[in-house]
Amino acid sequence: MTTVNRWLQRYFKRELLPLLADLRLAIALLLVIAVTSITGTVIEQGESLAFYQTNYPSDPALFGFLDWRVILVSGLDHVYRTWWYLAILIVFGASLTACTFTRQITALRWFSRPWNFYSQPRQFNKLALSGELTQGNLEAISPLLEKRGYKVFTRDRTLYAQKGVAGRIGPIVVHASMLIILAGAIYGSMTGFFAQEIVPSGQVFQIRNIFDAGPWAEAQVPKDWAVRVNDFWIDYTPEGVIDQFYSDLSVINEDGEELAQKTIHVNEPLRYKGVTLYQADWGIAAVQVKLNNSPVLEIPMGQLPTEGKSRIWGTLVPTKPDMSESVSLLATDLQGTLLVYDTAGQLVATVRKGMATEVNGIQLSIVDIIGSTGLQIKADPGIPWVYLGFGLLMVGVLMSYISHSQVWALEADDKFFVGGRTNRAQVTFERELLQIMEAIEPTTSAADAPATSAIAP
């Protein structure tokens, strides 16, 4: 048993970890995820079998092989949930973790080492940007460096200066924050749920219609409170285009007492105890009518099947007690206009909310049109972690733009040696260091000459 353990440990440390932390694997994974993700944007996702059969026939198959059978078997109809896509993501997560711990965290060692002063002129030879000056000393170069934001350290007759250390920490923050986002996303998908409810204005509902939930989501589903839709309405612009949808919602407890109240609209949800209610959809629930002097009757309206994009709701209103005659009421929005059709399908009148019209010899008045609100309901306990990761990621990528520049100087053999390097902004740094050298020892050697103004042969 111990030998197996030891073998496993050995395998993990010597084989698996170096493989996972290999940059070439990371690059390959980044590109593989990119390419596989493209398929999901080209092939329609989550459609019906019939859809794929019509659009991807076997004869002639697209590119000679891509028919509906291939799509369904390989899962190209739901790429982002297939086992192979998730497997790639898992390998990517493993690679990211391995990189973070073996490369990024160990890069922190850089900070623990003693300042590396250069005490020998030959140490300057390795730097591309270095030179020996016949004049100049540490006292001359220090203020020049400090003016440009460098932190300067001197010891004996040698100098070390640096700026932009944040640029060394940035990539570490980026990698760690991506791990946090990944962890938060997995945690959220395990413990969160999604639900949808269509609720007519004035009704109370409990969250029941859950269509997607993680294995440990039960605790998140509210049991001791419900929501009442006090009102739902749509604002229209003067041109009749929808301006915004609004739902006035109250959270109530088992005794019907109001615990919270908010008017939500798209971009402004209601949050209560980890559950968020978003304005997502709308419909027409019912129409309130009066026939002659009858009490107000509420007649439910249903959405009619239309082939185009337009949405129409309709209902039947009996105009005789024995229901032998009736009219149809149709509405396309909540602006208050209803179309009245007779049984022969002829448009007999249009009537507005609060108005009346005469059909089949009786007075039909429209009291109100009642909308229903479509709510998207969600709980995701992973959000705080994901947001923390987002925040760190943004800070990390910005830090990673900074170039870490280091400058060395040494007074030796009656000469003054200056050299430096930076990890990212080579061009700007070259200009900066040459300016410093030029300020110490003015030459005619065109320190600032445009080395790049002409095209190379």
């Binding site: 940059l23 690059i27 980044l30 590109l31 995820i33 990119a34 993700s37 493209i38 944007t41 982002y80 590396n116 300057f124 030879n125 390795k126 730097l127 591309a128 940007l129 270095s130 030179g131 020996e132 640029g167 990539p171 996303a185 999604f194 915004q244 609209h265 798209v266 971009n267 949800p269 968020t276 978003y278 997502a280 969600k378 959000i383 947001y387 987002f390 990621l393 943004m394 990528v397 910005l398 990673s400 870490h404 040696f417 390097r421 930076t422 990890n423 990212r424 902004a425 080579q426 061009v427 700007t428 070259e430 445009p450 080395a451 790049t452 103004s453 002409a454 095209i455 190379a456 042969p457």
Partner: protein, 341 residues
């Protein structure tokens, strides 16, 4: 003069200016001795930038909201971004080559926006409910700026590939600091305008990649370079400069893209309850992010520091375009607002 006439006048002006700017840059390459041409190009870019800024401001006043509601407006915002990033890149690199490749792209995009787009797609339109949010300005403007920066960076990578065609190249500049070290063959008469063709850093970069660039001393000292010659700085070549500025510009675009995607995710979570829904546009933004992340990693990978990262960056140009326009031509998903329906 009313705002709409002014806008029509401004977009035509931007097009004309950019057309002549392109000619100026191209002539400055053909006649490198005529210094004036380069300056003319820079002035043209700055003027075009201001004309487009004025155009967008006029839209803002007319529409009452930040003008990013349809293709025409976003196109001009991207062109504004490209001209702005171009000026930055040109200042950093001091090379007219940048303009030779960015000016035709900016000109082409302006031509498309001004001449090809049908008039009914050029008018300012009211925002749909889903876009009525302060996030719009933040998310869309950052995304479009990142597209602009990534496009300019990718274009410079293309310029680098053209300049270095048929040569083996060693890149300088990466997060671990490869390429800050002297080439082992000291150039005796450093001809500043030749492209370095020295694949001799392989062993050196090896060590550099491993531990952040410290333990290379022994290697270089043993090399037969330290002749009793005066130590002078080894200057960057044109290819080095183009590559490094391309890297730096992509280095601006990448954080912007990251912030743009995150702001979109947070907005989606606040408005619809899901920070990631594999919407085609979202997916393509992720693909763009992945391609440029691969580019940044390729730069620090041993044996990959030649032209390969630049090829990745250049292909990123296409990916950005698919992300920006291609997805909307498919006309699917949340982001199809205000485009080709």
């Amino acid at each position: 003069m009313d705002l709409v006439t002014l806008q029509g006048w401004l977009d035509n002006t931007a097009f004309t200016i950019l057309f002549f700017t392109m000619l100026a840059y191209w002539s400055s390459i053909a006649f490198p001795k005529v210094r004036l041409l380069g300056g003319l190009g820079t002035t043209g870019m700055a003027l075009a930038n201001m004309a487009i800024a004025a155009l967008l401001t006029a839209r803002w006043i007319e529409g009452g909201y930040f003008p990013l509601s349809n293709l025409y407006e976003s196109l001009f915002f991207v062109i504004w971004g490209i001209t702005a990033v171009h000026l930055v890149a040109e200042r950093m690199s001091r090379s007219q080559l940048v303009g030779a490749i960015t000016a035709p792209i900016a000109m082409g995009m302006t031509a498309f926006g001004t001449l090809t787009l049908p008039d009914n797609m050029q008018v300012s339109e009211p925002l749909v409910p889903a876009l009525k949010s302060n996030w719009l300005m933040m998310h869309v403007s950052v995304m479009l700026l990142s597209y602009a920066a990534l496009m300019v960076g990718a274009l410079m990578a293309i310029a680098f590939l053209i300049v270095t065609r048929g040569q083996a190249i060693e890149l300088r500049g990466s997060s671990v600091g490869t390429g800050a070290f002297r080439e082992t063959k000291l150039r005796r008469n450093p001809n500043l305008q030749t492209v370095s063709a020295a694949p001799n850093l392989a062993g050196e970069t090896d060590t550099v990649t491993r531990d952040g660039g410290t333990a290379v001393l022994a290697k270089v000292v043993t090399a037969p370079t330290t002749a009793p010659q005066k130590l002078t700085p080894q200057r960057l070549t044109l290819a080095d400069t183009l590559d490094n500025i391309s890297y730096r510009i992509i280095g601006i675009g990448f954080p912007l893209l990251t912030i743009g995607i995150i702001s979109g995710a947070v907005w989606a979570n606040e408005a619809w309850g899901s920070y990631w829904s594999w919407d085609p546009k979202e997916t393509w933004a992720l693909i763009t992010w992945l391609v440029f992340a691969a580019y940044l990693h390729a730069r620090i990978t041993k044996g990959w520091q030649g032209r390969r990262p630049a090829i990745l960056a250049a292909s990123g140009f296409l990916v950005v375009w698919v992300c920006y326009l291609g997805v909307n031509i498919l006309g699917k998903g949340l982001h199809s607002y205000g485009w080709f329906f």
